[in-house]
């Protein structure tokens, strides 16, 4: 019996020994700002129509994305990734606030934002504000946005915009910048450091 066990064990060990060495880990995506950058407090309107300030986010880390509801794929893809981040956070999911800031105040009213973010997760926050309020906030984050007319329709336009995602720490400072398309599990790993 023991002999059999020994034989099996040594066979398994041999299998283990034959495995090639683990490849060196690739660097984790996400640019960490060291030190985190303080942001000026701002107030926009949330998807319930109430005023919402940056200072309202303090106390918990936040993940922020700038986009617009008529965006055909970049924005729904990113919000879908935020959903995935939230589910990967598991028990810590409620410790992070997810925020979508519209760069299209003309079309993205609070009501429209409520339907949009609600389609992804009822806890996600949508923010909107006119260009005068939005422009300085976007600049602080390093976000570019520009409406571009579409020829096929007299009224239709798209908005070119920076598609990075931003993690804020508990103090509301800009802590990490993620490129568009950063895998959700990398975001989760980075965000856990802020919890």
């Amino acid at each position: 019996m023991l002999t059999l066990f020994a034989v099996v064990a040594s066979l398994l060990a041999a299998c283990g020994a034959d495995k090639p060495p683990e490849p060196t880990a690739t660097p984790l995506p996400g640019t960490v700002l060291n030190p985190p950058r303080p942001l000026e407090d701002f107030t926009l309107t949330d998807h319930t129509g109430a005023p919402f300030s940056l200072s309202d986010l303090r106390g918990r880390p936040a993940l922020v994305f700038f986009g617009f509801t008529n965006c055909p794929d970049i924005c729904p893809t990113t919000l879908g990734e935020f959903k995935r981040v939230k589910s990967l956070l598991g028990r810590d999911a409620d410790e992070v606030t997810f925020v979508f800031v519209s760069v299209d105040p003309q079309r993205d009213t609070p009501e429209r934002l409520a339907e949009y973010v609600g389609a992804f997760d009822p806890a996600f926050i949508g923010l909107t504000g006119d260009d005068a309020a939005l422009r300085p906030i976007a600049q602080e984050f390093g976000v570019y946005y520009q409406a571009v007319p579409l020829e096929g329709s007299e009224t239709a336009y798209t908005v070119d915009h920076t598609a990075s995602s931003f993690a804020l720490d508990r103090e509301g400072r800009l802590a990490i910048v993620f490129s568009y398309g950063t895998p959700p599990d990398a975001i989760v790993q980075r965000i856990r450091a802020l919890l």
């Binding site: 429209r112 798209t158 070119d160 990075s164």
Partner: protein, 167 residues
Amino acid sequence: MIYRWRAALRAAPFFMLIAGLALAGCAGDEPAPTPTAPADTAESTVTARDVWVRATPVDGAGQMTGAYLTLSNTGAQDERLIAVRAEGAGAVEIHETTHEGEIMHMQPVDGIDVPAGGEVALAPGGLHLMLLDLAEPLAPGDTVMLTLEFASGLTVPVEAEVRPLAE
């Protein structure tokens, strides 16, 4: 005897011509196309698969959304998609998402080449169709009829399924 040989030789081209015409006639004798198929799509060399449209996020008319598909050209000539029509949309444009560093741009393109024997995929993050001025919002499970128009005059109708906004 010799006289007949010479005559035969002189007649040969004539007979060859007759034979050639007869053979051409045989070659042209294809089975008739099925009566219901219009001539230019009876043997459509361009097919589309995985045709889908993203659901619209909110209620109300006048929205826009993206559509995606993979085009396959099994024919011997190159094709170029130059226009698309969609039932229920005021207009359809062909777009490409590009990026300059972190800034995303979406710009219209004149057409998409589908080379002979080749495939082109329109997918999120790259080439896509923009359906503009939708008469009604689109919900997952709905279908949208698209007509793909190619520079050669070829038109291909395809049915797109509406998929959820996010997986």
